[in-house]
């Protein structure tokens, strides 16, 4: 099962993801409507993408009082909101630890990231790969390899097989 993964250290803060999300889902350009947001901490030069992580024990699903309003998509694993059954109480929004659930006051329902049905638009517009849509195992393998390559470099440097350097 693939998941959305956010890498703040790669994020440039360009917010193309926000615009792609609102445009391809809602037909408008509106960061407020976007299901993914980038918080730009300008003073420190840091940008952090924040969005739904499709939690396994999703608090939003647990807290939702309307029996048919929330379910998990079996294909993508996304936590879904059935807007016809949503009563717009915003309990999910209040309990979400990531502030990742939106509320549409005009239409009277909540809405959230549905992984665009398994082909997330935000990922397509992120050119530094700060947002990835990957299998857990691929992510872990990449991290493992990175750590191993670092260790290998140190070991080879210690054995004077390569010149020390910045890499």
């Amino acid at each position: 099962m693939r998941k959305l993964v956010f890498h703040p250290e790669r994020c440039t803060g360009c917010r193309a993801c926000e615009l792609a999300c609102s445009f391809f889902n809602d037909g408008v350009f509106s960061p407020t409507r976007s299901r993914i947001r980038v918080v730009r901490i300008d003073e420190e030069g840091v940008d952090v993408p924040v969005g739904c992580l499709q939690c396994d024990s999703a608090p939003c699903m647990l807290v939702c009082p309307s029996p048919l309003a929330m379910y998990r998509d079996e294909g993508t694993g996304a936590v879904m909101i059935n807007v016809d059954a949503c009563i717009g109480c915003r309990s999910c929004m209040l309990i979400c630890p990531f502030g990742a659930i939106n509320h549409d006051p005009e239409k009277g329902f909540c809405y959230k990231c549905d992984l665009c049905g398994g082909d997330p638009e935000c990922v397509k517009w992120c050119f530094t790969k700060a947002i990835e849509y990957v299998e857990d195992e691929d992510l872990r393998r990449a991290k493992r390899s990175e750590v191993a390559e670092g260790a290998a470099k140190v070991m080879l440097e210690a054995a004077r097989l390569v010149k020390p350097g910045r890499g």
Binding site: R10, C14, A16, S22, F23, T32, I41, E43, W125
Partner: protein
């Protein structure tokens, strides 16, 4: 009027004298003629600012404008334009910045703000969607731009509030005060911040939660995908130099190519360039070192040219911020300073004080040279030991200028040209200004396209009217010949083809500044139609050719129908409108020139040793340029007929009434008044 796509649909008129805010609808005709941003602002100034207006009086008008593309998805949609009559130059002034402020203004529901009058006490403008209020700013007045921004974010919607603020330098009357957007992005040139300060307006804080829609979403998605792909495939973008080092990459390049202004333009090669280069910044201060592929970006930009860094040790420990080439060039090579921490510190200080880093660095460099030449004595500088390379004195001078402290501060706040006039004793021979504006970090004796651009630019010696980077990068000569009529158009040190090079770039720049997109996409990278298509004839492409088709982009967004030709004509219209505005402010042919240093004094060292910008060539180029523009050769006044042809009949009428329009009709001699400046 049916609502146009892309635009928010209304402007804010803020009358500070009476504390009144009005919402004005956009007119479709104005959108068709001037697009938005820079084009709309020029028209507002033409209509509302009489030529005799004192730039620092309540009757000057300050415009902040976005374009129809600002805030949408696409390569580089974060730009905002600021315009007013400039207190530094006395002519048309404007400046452009990136970041996310402009888009936020549109999400709040406004395409632009027109500020008139003067508040009786310091205020700031707070905008949150429909709520638009002037609020007391007595707690912010006197504070630096960083602190003011921090306070306004804290007091409103945190990181979702975007702030444009001025600093103490502007409040103290430094003539090149800037507006700082979101901490690090400056609309620095031409003293727009000083105009804002003269109106007692400290900041504009915006939070917007609305939506923008486009006329044809399906076509829009196609056009933007094509545009984005064109950027990714551009040969310049593919080097990833901007992505790796930011705009500071240019410092090393300029030094290697021999056009890096050094010691107030005495030389063009700086022996300490490696100490203040992009690589040095990356290795010493970057908070995002390689291999992490991230600088910071303005809205929806794949280029991420903003380089964030922090000094962690030494006497400038704690200095942090976003560095760009121009500021680094001004405080580094131009001042002969090779201490990167000091350069970075001076640069960030000038932003915090809210003054243009280019004009500030240039002015200090001028003082250094005048001091070394004996024109300014030790006493004239209040004992400050300003000479080339003295980092400490440079940093101290930044403080004194911002505070207008002593003689350094008093003179320094006037900028190069006015300070030199005040000093006299031949000081004028050492300035780099055209029409009162100091020259940027590129030597016009070497880069002739840039140089010619400086001579004719509507806001004085500045690169961003044209930005003909084409002459610095290596495209096949056939491309240059096909586009600009001479293969030398792509070579440094050559005059051939440079007029058409500048003409093309100026038109394109006027268009994109008005749309709300960034210079780098069409004049640094060359992703715009028809350049990738022309390049494909000489370098076999790997797949289908993509390009940014600005005309289609604008059409899909707005619903207005722009052909390529119509869009290029809009560019010409905007440049001629700015000319008309400048003509009213007294600009004539004699002002379209370069300072003596570049015309008479040969480059002393480096690969272009011996080069000057030939006055004879400059005159020939002006003739050719005026012919292309439809301006009179003798005077530089626009022809009435060409203004009418561009759809500027009302502008032509106005000039005619003032006796400032040239005419091609025989027997009816134009009676151009001589320039006032």
């Amino acid at each position: 009027m049916p609502k146009l796509g892309g635009y928010a649909g209304q402007l804010l008129h803020v009358d500070l004298t009476n504390g009144l805010v009005k919402k004005l609808p956009l007119s479709k005709e104005a959108c068709e003629l001037f697009i938005g941003g820079r084009g709309r602002d020029a028209k507002t100034l033409f209509d509302q600012v009489p030529p005799e207006t004192d730039p620092l009086s309540p009757s000057n008008v300050l415009c902040l404008s976005t374009g129809p593309i600002t805030g949408l998805l696409g390569p580089t949609t974060g730009r905002v334009n600021v315009a007013a009559k400039s207190p530094l130059t006395g002519i048309y002034g404007n400046s452009n910045a990136g970041a996310h402020w402009g888009a936020e203004l549109k999400y709040a529901g406004y395409d632009g703000i027109i500020v008139t009058g003067k508040a009786s006490k310091p205020v700031y403008l707070y905008i949150e969607d429909d709520l638009v209020e002037l609020r007391d700013a007595s707690h912010l007045w006197g504070k630096g731009t960083y602190e003011a921004t921090r306070i306004l974010q804290r007091d409103h919607r945190g990181y979702d509030t975007r702030v444009a603020a001025i600093g103490p330098a502007a409040e103290n009357g430094v003539l090149y005060g800037s507006l700082i957007f979101d901490y690090w992005d400056a609309a620095g040139r031409a003293g727009m911040g000083t105009v804002m300060a003269s109106k007692n307006l400290k900041a504009i804080a915006v939070t917007g939660t609305g939506s923008l829609s486009v006329a044809d979403p399906k076509r829009y998605a196609e056009v933007v995908r094509d545009a984005w792909q064109a950027v990714l495939e551009d040969p310049g973008f593919q080097t990833q130099e901007h992505a790796a080092l930011g705009t500071l990459v240019v410092l090393g390049l300029g030094n290697a190519q021999g056009w890096l202004p050094t010691r107030n333009f005495r030389e063009t090669v700086f022996e300490l360039a490696d100490e203040v280069s992009g690589e040095a910044f990356r290795d010493r201060f970057s908070t995002r070192p390689a291999p992490i592929p991230a600088g910071r970006a303005c809205l929806s930009c794949p280029n991420r040219c903003k380089r964030f860094g922090r000094v962690t040790s030494g006497k400038y420990a704690g200095t942090k911020g976003s560095i760009e080439f121009e500021g680094a060039a001004a405080f580094g090579p131009k001042c002969g300073v090779g201490d990167l921490a000091a350069v970075f510190h001076a640069y960030m200080l000038s932003n915090d004080y809210g003054m243009d880093c280019i004009s500030c660095g240039n002015t200090i460099a001028l003082f250094m040279e005048l001091h070394e030449e004996g024109i300014l004595s030790h006493e004239d500088m209040d004992g400050l030991d300003l000479h080339f390379g003295s980092a400490d004195a440079m940093v101290e001078a930044v403080h004194r200028i911002a505070k207008r402290q002593g003689k350094v501060g008093e003179l320094g706040g006037l900028g190069e040209e006015l300070a030199a006039k005040r000093i006299g004793r031949g000081a004028e021979n050492y300035v780099s200004t055209v029409k009162g504006m100091g020259t940027i970090g590129t030597d016009p004796r070497v880069a002739k396209g840039f140089g010619f651009g400086f001579a004719v630019a509507s806001r004085g010696s500045d690169h961003l009217r044209a930005h003909p980077v084409f002459e610095m990068i290596r495209y096949p000569p056939g491309v240059a010949e096909e586009l600009f009529g001479a293969k030398e158009a792509g070579e440094l040190g050559k005059y051939e083809g440079k007029v058409r090079l500048v003409f093309f770039h100026e038109n394109m720049a006027a268009v994109t500044d008005s749309m709300g997109t960034c210079r780098f996409m069409h004049a640094s990278f060359y992703a715009e139609y028809p350049i990738p298509e022309v390049l494909a004839k000489y370098v076999k492409p790997r797949g289908p050719v993509h390009s940014i088709k600005y005309h289609e982009w604008l059409s899909a967004a707005t619903g207005l129908n722009f052909t390529y030709e119509a869009l290029m004509k809009a560019g010409q219209r905007i440049v001629s409108l700015e000319r008309a505005l400048n003509v009213r402010f007294g600009v004539r042919r004699e002002h379209d020139t370069l300072p003596k240093r570049f015309l008479k004094q040969p480059v002393p060292t480096g690969p272009f040793k011996g080069e000057v910008f030939s006055e004879e060539m400059l005159n020939k180029m002006l003739d050719e340029y005026y012919d292309l523009r439809g301006w009179e050769r003798e005077t530089g006044l626009p022809y009435e007929e060409s203004l009418i042809e561009l759809g500027l009949a009302d502008v032509a009428d106005d000039l005619k009434r003032r006796g400032l329009a040239a005419t091609r009709i025989k027997g009816e001699e134009a009676s151009p008044r001589k320039g006032r400046r």
